[in-house]
């Protein structure tokens, strides 16, 4: 019996070994097939440099970018762009750079630029400026400021997003307001919002005039100080201005909504909002009468609430200290080449193609956004599906556009301010919350300065 058992064990071991070896061989032979790249016309790509491009647009915005990518792939026979749509691209691209395996081109948001540049995660593109491909006159001022933050060109503008006030004309009429007269000041915005707010029989909110927590994208609410005259980052001193009179005014205003309507009541009301890009969006479902949004919002309205076409208006967002548009919060998607990219030359060729006026205008047109370029064709304005494109073109070219601070600490400050604003929303003292955040951020800056000094071999 023991011998039989031993023989069986030997047989089983041999069979297992044969299976493992056979599996390995099969994997080598059949498993590792090289990726086949195909052009839109079905033609298989051979002997081209493959430029990997990570981008964050999806759905119809992604399709617009793919159109430009396909146009490039068909336009020549040396380079092929392999596009990968990536979520949380900002974090993943940084990790890829750290792992020495980055893509050749990435799309970034303006808020990422400071961290990427300070950590030397991007390849300078100064060569494009030297070659005369781009100059300060190519892009609108704020986009150029974003692309060339510390005397070097690090990115090229793709699609700008400046914010404006959207208002629902139908709800204005129902509330007895002039549908063609948007608020000019924050005080007017408040008074109109009150008239536009309706309650149900149990005291719950049925419709609200304006809510500063919308859009509920994480972090947007930390920019309200801009509309009260604050500059969050002092570029001259390199310091953050969190606890300023303007900031305190902004967040007292922000908190006034919970005082007026009750926090639980507002949270319950907001709980019914659907995703931003769905028909359950509070503006599209007519539960919110006024909202701050970017130009792309027109695209989502066209897709999800076509009935609203012509029934909403867009105007520069009011400010507490001047005319509407005296301060504008802006963002912009940019293209950049990460540090350590394998095909920098090919990537530069691709970027040159991307920023051609024709291609930029196609992309911005399909995304309902204004152009980042100073020079705009009439056809672009004429055919752009955003009915307010002229307004957005004007706002984008305004010198009042403020970007997220371009600083190495920004993502950390952003997170701290986000918590601070949530604290204020929960009913805590505005002054104390902002003062605490200011202290925390100041300490981080001091620590960073000490660390930098130590790195340079100086006594901190």
């Amino acid at each position: 019996m023991a011998r039989l058992h031993t023989a069986f064990s030997i047989w089983l071991s041999r069979i297992t070994a044969i299976c493992v070896v056979a599996g390995g061989v099969a994997l080598l032979v059949f498993g590792d097939k090289p990726t086949i790249h195909q052009l839109p016309n079905g033609q298989v790509v051979h002997n081209r440099v493959v430029v990997s491009y990570w981008e964050n647009w999806t759905d119809f915005e992604g399709r617009a970018m793919m159109h430009v990518v396909n146009a490039f792939n068909m336009s020549q026979n040396r380079i092929y762009i392999n596009t990968v749509q990536v979520s949380d691209l900002d974090i993943k691209a940084l990790i890829a750079v750290a792992g020495h395996d980055p893509p050749d081109i990435v799309t970034l948001w303006s808020r990422d630029m400071g961290e990427y540049v300070a950590n030397r995660a991007l390849t300078p593109l100064d060569v494009l400026e030297k070659q005369g491909v781009v100059s300060r006159r190519t892009f609108v001022p704020y986009v150029w400021r974003l692309c060339k933050p510390f005397h070097h060109l690090y990115a090229l503008g793709a699609t700008p997003e400046t914010c404006a006030l959207y208002w629902n004309k139908n709800l204005f009429i129902k509330a007895g307001l002039n549908p063609d007269q948007p608020p000019q000041t924050i005080a007017q915005l408040d008074s109109m919002a009150r008239r536009l707010t309706l309650f149900n029989s149990s005291g719950g909110i049925r419709q609200i005039g304006f809510l500063p927590t919308i859009p509920d994208w994480s972090g947007w609410e930390i920019m309200w100080g801009i509309y009260f005259g604050n500059h969050l980052f002092n570029r001259r001193t390199g310091g953050y201005q969190i606890n300023t009179p303007q900031q305190r005014a902004a967040y007292r205003w922000y908190q006034s909504f919970t005082r007026r309507y009750g926090r639980a009541n507002l949270e319950k009301f907001q709980g019914g909002f659907g995703p931003f890009n769905s028909p359950l969006n509070p503006f599209m479902s007519q539960r919110v009468a006024m909202e701050i949004q970017g130009p792309y919002f027109a695209n989502f309205i066209n897709q999800n609430a076509p009935d609203m076409k012509g029934r909403y208006g867009v105007a520069p967002f009011p400010t507490s200290f001047g005319r509407p548009g005296a301060a504008v919060f802006g963002d912009c998607d940019v293209w950049a080449i990460p540090r350590g990219a394998r095909h920098v030359k090919a990537a530069l060729t691709v970027l040159k193609f991307f920023i051609k006026q024709k291609n930029i205008e196609y992309l911005c047109d399909k995304q309902c956004k204004p152009s980042p370029l100073m020079k705009v064709s009439r056809a672009f304005i004429r055919r752009n599906p955003n009915p307010f494109i002229k307004l957005f073109e004007k706002v984008t070219k305004s010198p009042n556009v403020q970007l997220a601070p371009m600083d190495i600490l920004w993502s950390r400050v952003y997170s701290e301010l986000h918590s601070c604003v949530q604290h204020i929303w929960a009913g805590h003292s505005v002054g104390r919350s902002l003062a605490r955040a200011q202290r925390v951020v100041d300490r981080w800056q001091v620590n960073l300065a000490m660390l930098n000094a130590r790195q340079r071999g100086e006594r901190p």
């Binding site: 990790i95 750290a98 995660a121 005291g203 709980g271 993502s411 997170s415 605490r436």
Partner: protein, 333 residues
Amino acid sequence: MSRGTPFTTNRAGRRTAEPVRWGDQAAGMLFAAPYLAGVAIFLILPLGMAVYYSFCHYTMLQPPIWTGLQNYIGLLHDQSFRTALINTIVYAAASLPLTLVMSLGLAILLNCPIRGQAVYRTIIFLPSLVPLVAAGVIWGWLLNSDKGLVSYLLAPVLHTAGGLLAAAASWAGAGRDTVTALQRLAPPVWLADPHWAMPVIIFLGLWSIGQTVVIFLAGLQDIPHELYEAAELDGAGALQRLRHVTLPMLSPVIFFNLIMGIIGSWQVFDLPYVMTQGGPDKSTLFYSMYVFSAGMEQLRMGPACAMAMVQLFIILLLTALAFWSAKRWVHYT
């Protein structure tokens, strides 16, 4: 080559280990090598690097700079760290006993010889098969303050109860504010209220107790039936049998689940990350979430590694405490 037992018997009749041949030793090492290499590359090396980085300023994109104890001192001044630590202690203190008691209770019930026993066991285990991220999204919708099923079902109940209580309070001469508040009794905004978000997350931790129940169930089935019979003959009632037979016999399994629970509760991440992202107002910011945020979102690998080391130390300390206390209450047969 000898394939028999590696033991031999000496003249005194004692078993001694046969000297292992070099070939056998090499074969053994070769078979163990993949595992040892895995442990070295994926466990020991990262752990060593994490210890080193915890004493450095490191962003992954620049070479690390040695800063000594700076990261650990920085944690003392970091309010978010303190909040995450306190939240995790509260979570662990509430969720661990709750999970153990609930799962033990369910296991005892499921061990009863009743009709449809297998069906009940499957029902209890089924939620453990649902990925926590998916469960988090579903629970997020169920607990939605406006359109959620939980609030929808609870609202009429609370409305009726509130009405009755208001009438009673009015009769008892309570103030107008109290009566009005009772009349307006409504479900809370579960995940958007800092006072409710934590209890909700603790409660939802019970969603995946199926595996703990199964381990308890296996332990219960290992208890010899004769012990119950003997206890019954001695006149022990159901509660006494539970106290004097089931719990002592099950103590090694309880101990195992306690250790796993300590580790699990200090690493809670998925549900709060999906449902609340640490909010509102940091009320559900847990330790692992803050480590992730510092390391992967803010690229502060130094403080993230320091926090991970503190977490490791706390878990080791609690585990050591559990082992120390085990001498008094865990009975191995």
